[in-house]
């Protein structure tokens, strides 16, 4: 599998604050990677660096290019949606499609029009006349019609209602994603994406605190609803997190033998959100 993104010692600071303090990671092609972190963790900075929107120190190559110096070439194979779906308010939908079709060699107009025909967006409208959800749909239609190798989505469903969000991720998975494409997504609505992710990348305070494939995570981490009588025994196994819920104490373990855990209570797969909280808290203490 080829490496699409390689970062080594990636740094970026704003004045005295370090947004990224020497980060290393790789993203391989054909994956759906969730870049997850609390606000101010360096997520946006990392994305911006990958998309050539900001200068950085250290090494970073995306599709073998330096994103900052070769952004316009990179954008032939990468497309992205920044966290708020912002499109020029003065433009007509038809003008926007014409413009993207004329300037982007990999834009497939018929795909875009097919997506739009399923939405309420009319081609004669100006963007300023559309609702926020419709602007997002238009933006998604434009981006999904680009035959790109890497798609970067930064909070793509912000402002969409639950129905549209669900529909968006279904479309993304069923009609867009294939072995040749890679998707990098950040979102606060972790539970919406966890079933489509193949890889997790947790970032906190400018550092990568977890970098693992989803199946590795499921092998390594386990959540146990511990029976009250086994509480003390469970704690000797050094759970990385513990919380109370519905009369049971839930503990998150890493690298503990499964058979052993089953004696303590019911074993389940931790949700990405629980894992995230545990890993971040662990990294901070």
């Amino acid at each position: 599998m080829s490496e699409l993104i390689v970062a080594r010692g990636l740094r970026k600071s704003f004045g005295s604050t370090q947004a990224l303090s020497g980060v290393d990671f790789r993203v391989e092609s054909g994956r759906i990677v969730g870049l997850i972190g609390p606000n101010g963790a360096g997520k946006t900075t990392a994305l911006k660096a990958m998309l050539g929107l900001t200068r950085f120190e250290g090494e970073l190559s995306v599709l073998g290019l330096n994103p900052y110096l070769q952004r316009h070439r990179l954008m032939q194979d990468v497309c992205f949606i920044a966290d708020v779906a912002v499109l020029p308010r003065w433009i007509r939908v038809s003008q926007l499609i014409d413009f993207v079709a004329a300037t982007h060699p990999r834009f497939r107009r018929e795909v875009c029009e097919q997506f739009l025909s399923r939405s309420d967006v009319r081609k004669g409208s100006r963007v300023r006349e559309l609702s926020k959800g419709m602007v997002t749909q238009l933006h998604l239609a434009l981006v999904m019609a680009i035959d790109a190798k890497l798609l970067v989505l930064d909070e793509p469903t912000l402002g969409l209602d639950i129905l549209m969000r669900k529909q968006f991720y279904e479309t993304l998975l069923n009609e867009y994603f294939d072995e040749q494409r890679t998707i990098l997504v950040t979102t606060h609505q972790v539970e919406e994406v966890e079933h489509i992710l193949t890889d997790l990348l947790f970032i906190d305070r400018g550092r990568i605190v977890l970098d693992a494939a989803m199946d590795e995570v499921q092998e390594q981490y386990a959540q146990v609803a511990v029976r009250p009588e086994h509480l003390a025994a469970a704690r000797t196994r050094q759970p990385i997190a513990e919380r109370q819920g519905l009369g049971r104490t839930h503990m998150l373990f890493r690298g503990v033998d499964r058979a052993e855990l089953e004696r303590l209570g019911e074993v389940g797969v931790p949700s990405v959100a629980d894992l995230f909280v545990a890993v971040i808290q662990g990294a901070r203490t």
């Binding site: 952004r71 316009h72 070439r73 992205f80 499109l87 003008q95």
Partner: protein, 300 residues
């Protein structure tokens, strides 16, 4: 290249003033003609003579060239203001509301984006101005000749190609000269527009005005002020319709008119280093705007 034309087209879609402003100027002119408010003034009389009725053909044509070129000048001034605000807004509007994140998601380089905006200010707007001045000439020719005919004086002279083309040729030369002369001003405004965290007008205007006032009060000299006014208004010295300086011209308006040379100053002007240094400065300022656009991504 086709892509570049699309970039230019996008600017014209967004900045409607580029075609609305000249349309308004021409609309006003038509309205003035229709309501009969245009007094043919200098066309009609010089020293009490009804020139177009009585003067020689040479004088009539010369006067018409002056009127047509003067009309173009009015259109140019309006379009100059349009170009000023366009250049000031272009790269700022590009960043407003984080919009730049969308433009930058397309495979378009910062250099071609900045160049397309420069081309709009320095080529498209002047071309629109020239076209509008030609239309304005035709409006005046139509209205003027109709009016002269009503007064019993033959108005056909207003349609003479020597007058129409003569006026247009002068306008064209002025226009090209202004493009070169104002290129560094456009470059400066675009750099300010690319950089300004907000309110590009103040960011563009305050530094030079501050330097001007500062120099005046601290040092007591006016070098900055002279430099600024020279660049902004220096071109108008050329318009001062030059006579060829023969002494007989004194007092005789008719003779003065025949000696007016609307483009006489241009040759000297093109030989001056100021013009060409300005063009070099424009290139540097544009390179600066490209460099700033690369990392400047939001307005605050």
């Amino acid at each position: 290249m086709n892509r570049f034309l699309w970039l230019v087209r996008r600017e014209v879609w967004e900045h409607k003033a580029i075609w609305v402003a000249p349309a308004i100027v021409i609309g006003c002119l038509v309205l003035l003609m229709l309501t009969g408010n245009v007094h043919l003034g200098p066309i009609g009389t010089v020293n009490g003579h009804a020139v177009l009725g009585e003067a020689t053909d040479e004088i009539k044509l010369k006067l018409l060239v002056i009127v047509y070129a003067g009309l173009a000048l009015v259109v140019f001034m309006v379009m100059g203001i349009v170009a000023f605000f366009y250049a000031l807004d272009a790269l700022y509007a590009d960043r407003r509301d984080r919009l730049v994140l969308f433009w930058k998601s397309l495979p378009l380089s910062d250099a071609e984006t900045v160049l397309s905006k420069f081309a709009v200010a320095i080529v498209v707007i002047p071309l629109v101005a020239l076209a509008a001045s030609l239309v304005a000439q035709l409006v005046i020719a139509a209205g003027g000749s109709a009016r002269l005919a009503l007064e019993g004086i033959g108005g056909a002279v207003m349609w003479r190609p020597e007058a129409l083309f003569g006026g247009f040729a002068v306008a064209f030369l002025w226009c090209v000269t202004a493009m070169l002369w104002y290129a560094p001003v456009v470059g400066y405004l675009m750099l300010a527009s690319a950089w300004a965290p907000r309110g590009p007008f103040l960011w563009a205007v305050l530094p030079p005005v501050g330097l001007w006032v500062g120099e005046r009060f601290v040092v007591g000299s006016e070098h900055v002020g002279d430099f600024i006014t020279g660049r902004l208004f220096g071109l108008y010295g050329l318009l001062g319709a030059r006579s060829d300086g023969s002494p007989g011209a004194e007092g005789d308006e008719m003779a003065k008119i025949s000696q007016v040379d609307l483009v006489g100053g241009l040759r000297e002007f093109y030989a001056s280093p100021e013009l060409w240094l300005g063009v070099v400065a424009a290139a540097l300022l544009l390179a600066g705007a490209m460099w700033v656009r690369r990392y400047r991504d939001e307005t605050s």
